[in-house]
Symmetry: C2
Subunit: 325 residues, 2 copies
């Protein structure tokens, strides 16, 4: 069976072909030249599809905070308004994460038969550019396939996953009652990426205190883009309580970004980061090609046996690289 060309695959996703969509996302996930081809086709550059656009909502938080349940509740809500929604679960690619991911995916099974929902895990085990390249590309593919909402949920809690989700148009940070100390300890990182805080499992003791602690911290922090101060919303995703308020906070943040020009600014930053990562990935390919030569083997040997420091070895290879390009 001949492989369909990238442009044909993308056209099939535009017609609503879910198996074509799954194939395209697998290509994006694997990276490399094939990803580049579908990326170009999906981007709509020059083919009149420039109006394709999706609003991305990042959902992150500590393990067990209830991110997946909240994501599922938000999917229900969006579907209740008859809008299409995709979920990208950003996978840490850890050899030890199998169990947790399976558990999460089972819960999302409620939406398996709904044609208006597309759910997909995305891992980028080791490939160049990684998640920071693959995730925005996947969002573009999903936008082109007609999903106006893309929820990006972190499965793991690695730095890269959190960064990727933090670059969403609106980022929700999910915490639990009593999580105050942890928040305190990690204030800087969370304050940077949160556009909305969700105190999930708000039916448990201490929810109000946690919300108050967060609000106090937020009052001390610098306001974010264009003066936005993240609201703190209490919710119980399992029962659905407060989920409409969470979505309202997303809508408020979106309206704020759109009225202040913050959305364009955010997307420019994201595009700049994506291009940087692609440039870096190409340069890393060059580095690996450089390392395949006989001189590199000699240099690695010299480093391994203590005759040369790795920095000097890298410099020598870079000099050789610069001369060749």
């Amino acid at each position: 069976m001949p492989r369909p060309a990238p442009a044909e695959l993308i056209e099939a996703t535009r017609r609503g072909d879910r198996s074509a969509l799954a194939r395209v996302l697998s290509i994006v996930e694997r990276g490399g030249e094939a990803a580049r081809e579908v990326g170009r086709a999906a981007h709509g550059h020059g083919d009149g599809h420039d109006d394709d656009d999706a609003y991305t909502v990042g959902i992150t938080g500590a393990p067990g905070a209830g991110k997946s349940t909240l994501t599922s509740a938000l999917v229900d809500l969006v579907r209740g308004r008859d809008e299409r929604v995709a979920v990208l679960a950003i996978d840490p690619s850890s050899p030890f994460s199998g169990g947790a991911i399976l558990g999460d995916r089972v819960r999302m099974g409620d939406h398996a038969l709904d044609e208006g929902v597309f759910i997909r895990s995305m891992a980028t085990r080791g490939h160049l550019g990684g998640l920071a390249v693959a995730a925005p590309e996947a969002v573009r593919v999903l936008a082109a396939a007609g999903y106006p909402w893309v929820l990006l949920e972190t499965v793991g809690v690695g730095q890269v996953e959190v960064e990727v989700v933090g670059q969403a148009d609106t980022t929700l940070v999910v915490v639990n009652p009593g999580w105050g100390d942890a928040v305190q300890a990690n204030k800087a990182g969370l304050m940077e990426i949160a556009d909305v805080f969700v105190v999930n499992k708000a039916d448990r003791p201490g929810a109000r205190e946690t919300a108050r602690d967060l609000e106090r911290m937020l009052q001390m922090a610098q306001p974010g883009d264009g003066g936005w101060r993240p609201p703190v919303v209490q919710a119980t995703a399992t029962s659905g309580d407060g989920v409409a308020e969470v979505w309202q906070a997303v809508a408020d943040h979106r309206a704020h970004l759109e009225s202040t020009g913050g959305l364009d600014e955010r997307r420019r930053r994201r595009a700049a980061e994506e291009v940087t990562r692609l440039v870096a990935a190409r340069l890393l390919e060059r580095a690996r090609a450089t390392m395949a030569g006989p001189r590199a083997t000699e240099l690695a040997e010299a480093v391994a046996t203590g005759h040369l420091d790795p920095w000097t070895a890298a410099d020598e290879l870079l000099g050789a690289d610069a001369a060749r390009h």
Copy 2:
């Protein structure tokens, strides 16, 4: 107070100055030009210290498997033989990992007053080259400071941490009774990096079955470097049962590597990876510098507004970069 030169700091660590050692490791952790300077000084290139060497033991496994307790028990054992030992806890740099790390560190507090033990967490939040550069550098610094054993323990379970620990001279993978399914699901990744399997918490039901399952899987797998087949050792780190057998397995693997030339081969591979990462890090710095220019801002704008795909933008910048270098 003037800052001591890198060479002076390294000399102080050789004399046993622990606060100098802590400072040097902080510099290595932060990366950049200062890390390069101490790296060169620690490497001993040209100053007659070429015989500095440490044997590294990686300890990894799922959260809650008892890695930290096992590490602590191994430290006791090594100290009982009057050898010096350092522990590097490889931190996932996650904004959500604070609590777990504190818990682990408290347990290791038993060794706080022992001058022959040095314990350190290492995070490399976002810096270029990251753990893959910082960890081997830290090992060299610890070797130069007179620690013949360095235990590298993963705190998190991200891909990068596991890769770094998998590049140790001997890597222990810690599992628990009943963990069979998870191992099964992730067979490939674990079989690749394990030189010794430890079934920890072996006083619990199912330890023997788990050990047997692992042995069966190992019989089906390809033998590793030079025909080594990872032994499966049962231990209960909390009571100390089986810990001597774990250390014996490390000694056996070391003897195997030394007699087959596998140790040199492994260290060459590690050096090659380290140099590659350094080359890539330098190239990423170049990419970021390229992105700071006005043309890059225009290109990012074009990508953000859908007028250009990111791959083409990256290509254009790479062309510009190649012209400059």
